[in-house]
Symmetry: C2
Subunit: 358 residues, 2 copies
């Protein structure tokens, strides 16, 4: 047996074949072949034009198989025990014969050129479970790129038959809003001592939540967690609910003892039932898909404009003129657009930003 | 004396001359000539290309005279008594020899084609005061257009020597965020019975506030207002402050009795002092100006794209395909951009959105 043949016959470590056809990708994903799922996600994450085109052809055929999962977003401040809680929750679901995929969205990884989740051994137990699939955040590209890749990965996991998709926020920045925009249910993990820890949360995150779970409600911390629950419920009373017809509430949970973990699933099932009955569930999904398209359009329009070499050069000059009171904002915009329209994406000639006529 | 001459000599009712020169506008505004200020604002609000060009030439010359006021945003749910409070506050400032301009931002008026503020007799007392200028929201144009007009009106009022500019939100929608983005200090007016009234507030508005004033703290309502103040201060403890280095607090006020109205000005003066010392005040102003330019750029990019007749036509078709699972979001975007690039703004030929090849 040649080395190649030996590798091909080894089911647990299939070789990374470079030349799967579109149909092979599609069939492999639909059949739940883990190796091909991983390859399809890698294809979707690739920035090579050839791969991007193929990825879209694969996705187009997978679309009819998508949409059948519940999509759950998890966020929380660092130290809230998010990974441990997701692992505990995911293991419980696998034991109940669910198939669970865990994805991460980490826009900061596009800056640092390497995801902090590169280490796949986090959620060690869950990632070894045959019914679970744990995938780190795509580790390069623009913020818009990371979002697209995460959304398309979610679709691949759905087509592969995972019926619970957990999308986790990682890092700081816009990831909470991004994740909220791709999930059905958004869960915020908190700690005791509400007031202080909340300072570390981004503004408005609580208002995105369909449920708040106060973690580490165990041992000496239990009473404090119960107090925090009361505090959060009082706070929630002030805020509009994230989802029409659903009252966001706070609960306690312990990833350590497992107490309260089954209740997460109870809340989500109840949520699915209530929002499906009112049509809010389907309505949000449709809106999310259409909003996704519009946000990709806007990203692309901006990328073209700001990516134009002459605009890049003129922008900083314009900002200087503005701050010095040498131009008005509207005039500055007019001048930038005349540079853009004259030159397009190209770098045809040198062009200096005027201080404005008169 | 001809009718024309008679009108021209009448200082209180000057004629609306149609052909002021750029210099006449600039000098008139700088000299604080109310009639010319009104005409300059009308010029800025015009959608005629000829006027828009002239307006920019006027503004460019006024820019060096701007920036010397304190810009204060006022928001509050309908019924909170915003207008009455602004009038009472403005009258007090005028008595202290300040010059006060009150502007309104009402993006909804661009839909209804007529501002609810068209009736200028609101704030009757203040608008008759020689040191005050009350201007309704520009009543037509796109949302981006209303924002630009309000910002440019603010600059004109500053150049005219108004040293306190009050920008009021009107209607629903994005106006709170828009107003926050153009003011130094943002004040939210609330009522007693915190929890319930807050339900009517848009998400996140409290988090934009530099101060909360609970209005109608008078008569039988006084104790309830004091209780609401305690509630709001507890809520504020949970939230990040809107301005770095400034603690947002809740206070009570009565527009009716005037009690607490001077305290609004005390809080704002303190705020100006603290944030000027730390540099936060100037830093925010510069950021606001630069952000304004970028949001105008984005608005224009979107207006061009979505304004293209073929895109308009294709968008609804694309949304149908998406919802039916006949295309992937990324493919849909690719197709829309190839339509856009082939056709630009024009309407050269009929083009049908493909369902995406294989």
């Amino acid at each position: 047996m040649t080395e190649e043949k030996r590798l091909q016959s080894n089911q647990s470590f299939p070789p990374r074949r470079k030349h799967l056809s579109v149909d092979e990708y599609v069939q492999g994903v639909i059949n739940g072949n883990r190796a091909i799922i991983a390859q399809a996600i890698t294809l979707v994450e690739s920035n090579l034009p050839k791969h991007m085109e193929m990825a879209q052809n694969v996705l187009k055929q997978l679309i009819p198989y998508t949409g059948k999962s519940i999509r759950i977003g998890f966020t929380g401040v660092p130290g809230a025990g998010k990974s441990t809680l997701i692992e505990s929750f995911g293991m419980m679901l696998c034991e109940q014969n669910h198939r669970v995929a865990v994805l991460a969205v980490d826009p900061t990884s596009s800056v640092s050129k390497g995801s902090i989740l590169g280490d796949k051994t986090r959620m060690e137990q869950l990632s070894r479970h045959p019914d679970a699939y744990v995938r780190p955040s795509p580790s390069s590209g623009t913020l818009g790129g990371v979002t697209r890749k995460s959304r398309e990965t979610l679709l691949i996991c759905e087509a592969a038959g995972y019926d619970v998709i957990i999308v986790e926020t990682v890092g700081v920045g816009q990831s909470e809003i991004t994740v909220r925009s791709m999930v059905d249910f958004f869960l915020v993990i908190m700690l005791t001592g509400a007031g202080d820890e909340l300072q570390g949360m981004k503004k408005g995150v609580i208002e995105l939540a369909d449920a708040i779970f106060i973690n580490k409600a165990d041992g000496a911390n239990q009473q404090a967690a119960l107090n925090a629950k009361v505090d959060y419920n009082r706070l929630l009373h002030f805020l509009q609910p994230a989802t029409v017809g659903w009252e966001t509430k706070a609960f306690t949970v312990s990833a350590l003892t497992g107490e309260g973990v089954p209740h997460i699933w109870d809340v989500i099932k109840k949520y699915k039932e209530v929002t499906s009955r009112t049509g809010v569930f389907e309505k949000r999904r449709k809106e999310q898909m259409i909003n996704w398209v519009h946000s990709m359009i806007e990203d692309q329009l901006k990328a073209r404009f700001y990516g134009s070499p002459l605009i890049k050069k003129s922008i900083s000059e314009m900002e200087k003129f503005l701050v010095n009171g040498q131009t008005s904002p509207t005039l500055a915009v007019q001048q930038l657009f005349s540079i853009y329209d004259e030159n397009g994406y190209g770098n045809k000639k040198s062009y200096s930003l005027k201080r404005g006529g008169n």
